[in-house]
Amino acid sequence: MINSSAQKTDAECFTVPQHTTIMGITMDDKVKDLMGSLGRGRGSLIPLLQRVQSEFGYLPRETVAAISDALVISESEVYGVATFYSEFKLKKPGEHTFKVCMGTSCYVSGGGTLLSQIIRRLGVRPGETTSDGKYSLDAVACLGCCSQSPTVVLDDVIHGNVTPSTLESMISELENGSEAL
């Protein structure tokens, strides 16, 4: 099983014991699978990381050795690239992810208030996940939808012209929804 990594720093996530299987599946095989038609050159590193992330929702430590082998790049270089780009996550994200736009237009239209609201309401800071693994929060820069500022993305669905009260109903819908389960 994957370790719960919510409390670890990025560096720690990269130094946990090197399992190479997740739920019995060998990561060498999994990564080979995900490689598909990608070439073995260095240029494939970012696309491969993207494929691994879309498979698992993040980059599990267990896959790194396999990625490094598949592309003949050292693990430290894989780590260097993975930590440079904000898209890549080394920790498992929550069940639901809020992305609050903190681009200029959203910022001047109240995006900051929406961000504080989520921080207070869910007890989670940007870049983190709640300890029960339910919610993650990200502050992102411009979703290119500034005419509908402020914007919030909840689980890949973009919402425009969000107000504290519409945000509140998004949150309570999630909370009630999960209570009902």
Partner: protein
């Protein structure tokens, strides 16, 4: 679409495409078009569209549905256009599910309903005359000249036939019939300058790369659009992806490139998807691949998805990223034209630059250069956002003055508030104050005013935005996005940010202000790339125009715009509060305490200063107010 083997067959394809366009729009069935760009979707366009579809099919009416891109009237999204048989196409704005119901009813009884009509769209009306004015008479569209945006909101971006019916790929056919040098000459004549920010003359850049020695050359389309506040490239990619592909083909032919890349940010999933669809269509039709239109010219395009780093919009960082490395810029020279991607000669152009090319080749460089002023020729797309009545995407001739753009096109500032200024150029730009808005949209004039045209983002701010807080905001952005390679940017942005935080929290002295200016100058002159070199701009420009506001924060610990959260607080006047509890309900964080019918209090620790309580407090009580600075202690 069948493979088109030579340019002469393109005419046949166009005739075919036009015929099917006519049968779609001029047929005997109603047609419903929905503005389905990311902006439309986020405004909720799916709901009225799907409702309309289910209402009509319940009644047994098989209408036709077309998803189009963004017309740019984002302020009134969701946008639906409806054409009843024998009538013109009418565009409706702010279509809620309720309006969708009444529009569906009006389709069923085929009556002329014009309630929320924004205008008729002649391009989609099949010659039917309308009693409703043309959409192009709309105040937001009237003074626009649409070249890069000519198809956005008019065609289905996932339908190659639509693009061809409107003259698409004719410029490619023309291009391969003349010499590469002639193509470059035409682009030089047009006066087109790079729309990605730097404004470098496009024809000249192509010539460098064409003359550069190398057996293999690359072409990159920069679709990273990381500048917060910019969404023109997204709109073009989502609304008219073939225009960008055709632009790339023209550039590739002129320079002699065989392989192209589109580097598109991952935050644009819809643009990425539509690009993929368009690339496949272009390949199938013979516009991409080997022996294009039978000319012997080979060119292919691969999409590279960005991974979330603003600095990767910088050309050398972008290339490092395609190579699979950390996206860090490098010193130039060597310039990409000589040694770019994998050290091969490379030409990189922005999405909008490329989208202009088909029209330039089609109608001639002279035609394009007739628009504009001075050394800024042609048109520029601009993204209007912030405190403006009509946020959206526009395209105007270069040289239009900023006041006209903000007030005539954008409709001015909402809520009767005063315009404080406009931010152009994003985090490398600055705020041009309201008193200075009579300058033209021109590369040189805007630079002289202390900002840059940049990618074309224009964020209007009103009196509620604090200029110091905004400078802090920008520095927080550049500091976070600094790649860390060069010291002036890595350390300088951190220092500037720290000083600005001190000012916005009311803890700074005049000495800090002097230090801020000194650091700003050092970062500007010492940084490796535009990210660092441009980062002091928001500070220096705001100091140039708004220095008293900085001083107010420093000397009086007061934020005149009441925006700096460290210097403001909300409080309830105990003598006015009747304890009705409306504010308690409105507060999203439960920060208001107190018993029913007794005066309430705000827990300052919990309060996020959103102002929801002020809005909730009944006007007859008006018990809640926001205060700043020295007043704080008195309260």
């Amino acid at each position: 679409m069948r493979r088109i083997k030579d340019p002469s067959r393109l005419e046949d394809a166009k005739a075919e495409a036009k015929a099917s366009w006519n049968s779609l729009f001029c047929g005997d069935r109603p047609i419903v078009c929905t503005g389905m760009s990311t902006c439309g979707i986020s405004a909720g366009a799916r709901e009225p569209r799907d409702l309309m579809r289910s209402l009509l099919s319940e009644e047994g009416l098989e209408a036709k549905y077309v998803d189009v891109g963004c017309l740019g009237l984002c302020y009134s999204e969701p946008l639906l256009y409806i054409k009843k048989p024998g009538r013109p196409m009418i565009c409706y704005g702010n279509v809620s599910p309720k309006t969708a119901r009444s529009l569906a009813r009006s389709i069923l009884i085929n009556d002329e309903s014009g309630d929320s009509a924004l205008g008729a769209i002649p391009e989609l009306s099949c010659g039917e005359i309308s009693s409703i004015p043309s959409i192009w008479e709309h105040p937001m569209l009237k003074s626009q000249v649409r070249i890069a945006l000519k198809n956005c909101g008019i065609i289905d971006p996932e339908n190659l036939g639509h693009y061809i019916a409107r003259g698409g790929y004719a410029a490619l056919a023309k291009t391969i019939g003349i010499t590469p040098e002639a193509v470059i000459e035409e682009v030089k004549t047009s006066g087109l300058r790079g729309r990605g920010g730097a404004g470098f003359p496009t024809g000249m850049k192509w010539e460098f790369c064409r003359k550069s020695k190398g057996d293999e050359k690359y072409l990159i389309c920069n679709a990273d659009e990381g500048d917060p506040g910019a969404f023109m490239d997204r709109s073009v990619l989502e609304g008219d992806p073939h225009a960008v592909i055709e632009g790339m083909l023209i550039a590739a032919y002129a320079i002699g490139c065989t392989q192209g890349f589109i580097y598109c940010r991952a935050e644009y999933p819809l643009a990425l998807r539509r690009l993929e669809v368009a690339l496949q269509q272009a390949k199938d039709a013979g516009f991409l691949g080997e022996n294009i239109l039978g000319s012997g010219f080979d060119f292919d395009i691969t999409i590279k998805e960005g991974a979330g780093a603003f600095v990767c919009g910088e050309e050398t960082a972008l290339m490092a990223s395609i190579e699979g490395k950390r996206g860090m810029p490098r010193t130039r020279p060597p310039f990409p034209a000589n040694a770019g991607l994998w050290s091969k000669p490379t030409n990189i152009n922005n999405v909008e630059t490329l989208a202009n090319l088909p029209s330039i080749i089609d109608k001639g460089g002279k035609w394009y250069s007739a628009f504009g002023i001075g050394r800024s020729r042609g048109t520029k797309t601009l993204a209007l956002a912030g405190a403006i009545n009509r946020p959206g995407l526009i395209e105007v001739p270069m040289g239009m003055n900023l006041r006209q753009i903000i007030f005539d096109i954008g409709g001015g500032v909402p809520g009767g508030k005063a315009c404080k200024g406009v931010l152009t150029g994003g985090p490398s730009g600055g705020c041009i104050p309201a008193s200075n808005l009579d300058i033209p949209m021109d590369y040189e004039a805007i630079t002289q005013a202390g900002s840059i045209v940049g990618s074309g983002s224009m964020i209007v701010i009103d009196e509620d935005t604090c200029i110091v807080d905004l400078a802090r905001f920008f520095l927080a952005f550049t500091q976070r996005e600094s790649c860390g390679k060069c010291t002036p940017c890595r350390i300088g942005t951190k220092q500037m940010l720290g000083l600005l935080e001190k000012i916005t929290q009311g803890q700074a002295t005049n000495a800090d202000l002097a230090k801020l200016e000194a650091v700003a100058q050092a970062v500007r002159s010492g940084s490796l790339c535009g990210l660092g070199a441009g980062s002091p701009n928001p500070v220096l420009t705001s100091l140039r125009y708004f220095r008293p506001e900085y001083e107010e924060h420093i000397v009086h610990k007061h934020c005149p715009s009441m925006a700096c959260s460290g210097l403001t607080s909300h409080s309830i006047d105990q003598s006015k509060c009747k304890g009705c509890g409306l504010c308690v309900e409105a507060c999203p964080v439960g920060a208001i305490l107190g018993d029913h019918k007794k005066p309430h209090r705000i827990d300052q620790e919990r309060c996020i200063k959103c102002g929801a309580c002020i809005l909730a407090c009944p006007g007859k009580f008006s018990a809640i107010s926001k205060r700043s600075g020295a007043v704080l202690e008195v309260a």
